[in-house]
Symmetry: C2
Subunit: 378 residues, 2 copies
């Protein structure tokens, strides 16, 4: 029996429901990122509940370093630690190992690297990643993979993809073992596989076909949004997704802008995550249904309207553009918080509008109306 | 008719009600500080409402620089700007001019100084301070005074106090003029006078007697908590307050610790303000009814209790010591926010407990039980 049920489709877009031990997730969904078990911009899990967040994502690499996954396990797992009872997805640490850590050495066993905080040597392979994620007790664990930047030479990508496949098999075995242990907190932890293959169609397809055979509850497309153009990204989705199991959920990792999300839903993606709404907000960059805004702009000095008059987020219900601009100029943390609140609410609501459009079989119309508009600079 | 009504007394402690155009304030009260029209630690006025804040304090000097009081006036005044409908007190700018600004030159007219942000030259005298505060449209404006640090030579303090008296007369005249103007936002803005005199009993008393004659709605004790000991501070209150009008509210500026507050209520103070609960919280220093804690302490690593099990604040209702310690260690802004929430709630609730103790005529008992306990390091 699958955890994922497709309620309806509209073209290639899917309206689904993903069932977990921590409750159901309505897809397509955008996961809100709480890197080190906290949402940047001083948001708490209480705030996420108010913003309609369905699923939170935390980072294995960061939590392994601080406070340590053993500490989180002693405290009862991430859910208790953060006071969050809905689903949590943890990434595998792979992306951070390959983007943040220094002095990497990759072997068949795994990766030896130096912590970006104090330089101490750490080894992480598929089994280590699974053990850390089991200690964190997330709802969904991600497979440990190598994330190659784009473009990369084909022979290297081929070698890497083969190893990532062998690592996935080891992840699956280790997770099954961990889920059977007495003192494992979440014995129903799920594993998502990750498709790699850089920008090479044949490698992507072949890898997807191989990992599909492992019958995992979900499959991610990894290694995108790391250097290639949007067109290349969409192309990879076009050629790869037909080889992903129809009845399993699909997750496009680290993506992206509102337009990226709509275009990817149109190609059959169900899960997303990205630091963009939080990171941009902290610099005053705001998403609205009419396009993007820079709240530091002088033109908002005397503007008594909310960021978006149609928005129902806690920020737009109470505070003006003039006030938010002032907070940025005065260097007040509240500026970031108010903008992160708005952007996360916007992303969560965008997904709701996408889900409704699919349900009402007018997703193509929604896509036509919004892809360009949402990218407009106001 | 007075704005201030004493409901009951217990020894010298007063349980009062201060009536304003923005609603009533139950005293003794602690004003929550929102320096530049924002509460440090990413708190909004929505948060203040949740924390039971009765009155907010903002800084004239800071708001004059950013965003500018003319801008705030165009935006409808501080209340609209911050979205806060309860009372706001603005200080006069004097304290910041004498503590933050550089290259000061004091004359009978006022003070010329350089902005601490970009060094540009600014002149502020009694009339300028009143005009700025009128533009901000706060509920209560403070008189423009010179804040001398302790200790200072008596002949200088005497000269300064005389000038501060003449400035107060000018403040009163200017405020009356401003309140009568057509385009003034808050035509019922109130002026509090400020008693000065350093640590010299005779200067304090003489100054208080002179300003009492001006029949202002409230009187502050200024120039304390700026270098002298707690004992000296209490002594000044002991000798000065008997000369303050009985039926007017009394405000001890910039004070202080929970114990300072209890000791000052015992001497007849009604209003307080201090950056301590917010500033300390941002460094992990927490107030509880059992004493103070440092949330960065290693001993909280695996502590799953809330900061204070008896506390009803939003932080203690949802998050553990272990989580808050982790947030500090990981450098997450949320750490500061959760601690500021707790400390402000604690201060607001402390004042409520003080008010109840006075109402129930057991304030001396409350004082005996709490003055030492609240200062204990846990």
């Amino acid at each position: 029996m699958s955890n994922f049920k497709i309620l309806t489709t509209d073209g290639l877009a899917r309206r689904g429901e993903f069932d977990t031990v921590h409750g159901k997730v309505q897809t397509p969904v955008f996961q809100n990122v709480g890197t080190i078990a906290a949402i940047k911009g001083a948001l708490s899990t209480e705030d996420l509940r108010q913003l309609g967040t369905q699923i939170e994502l935390s980072n294995t690499y960061h939590l392994h370093l601080r406070p340590g996954d053993e500490v989180v396990k002693k405290l009862g797992g991430l859910h208790k630690f953060m006071n969050w009872d809905r689903p949590i997805l943890t990434d595998s640490g792979g992306f951070q190992v390959f983007s943040l850590a220094k002095l990497r050495n990759i072997t068949e066993e795994g990766v030896t690297f130096a912590s970006h905080i104090d330089g101490h040597k750490i080894f992480m392979g598929p089994e280590e990643s699974m053990r850390i994620q089991s200690n964190l007790a997330s709802t969904i664990a991600m497979a440990f993979d190598e994330c190659v930047e784009n473009p990369a030479p084909k022979d290297y990508v081929k070698k890497s993809v083969d190893r990532t496949y062998r690592w996935l098999v080891r992840c699956k075995n280790e997770m099954e073992r961990l889920n059977s242990l007495e003192d494992t907190i979440n014995k129903q932890q799920m594993l998502f596989g990750i498709n790699q293959g850089g920008t090479y169609d044949d490698l992507r397809i072949e890898h997807m076909q191989r990992i599909a055979e492992l019958d995992l509850p979900g499959y991610a497309i990894g290694g995108l949004a790391v250097g290639e153009s949007h067109e290349e990204m969409y192309h990879i989705l076009d050629v790869t997704l037909p080889h992903a199991p129809e009845d399993k959920s699909r997750y496009l990792m680290g993506v992206g802008t509102p337009s990226n999300i709509i275009e990817s839903v149109a190609r059959g993606i169900d899960f997303f995550d990205c630091v963009m709404p939080t990171r941009n907000a902290r610099h005053g960059f705001i998403f609205t249904r009419h396009g993007t805004m820079n709240m530091k702009n002088q033109k908002y000095e005397l503007d008594t309207r909310p960021i978006d008059e149609e928005c129902s987020c806690p920020t737009c219900q109470k505070y003006t553009r003039a006030y938010i601009r002032h907070l940025f100029k005065a260097g007040e943390m509240l500026a970031m918080r108010l903008c992160v609140i708005h952007n996360l609410y916007f992303y969560n609501e965008l997904m709701e509008r996408i889900r409704t459009a699919i349900e009402e079989h007018r997703f193509e119309e929604f896509r036509r109306e919004n892809v360009e508009k949402l990218a407009t600079r106001l």
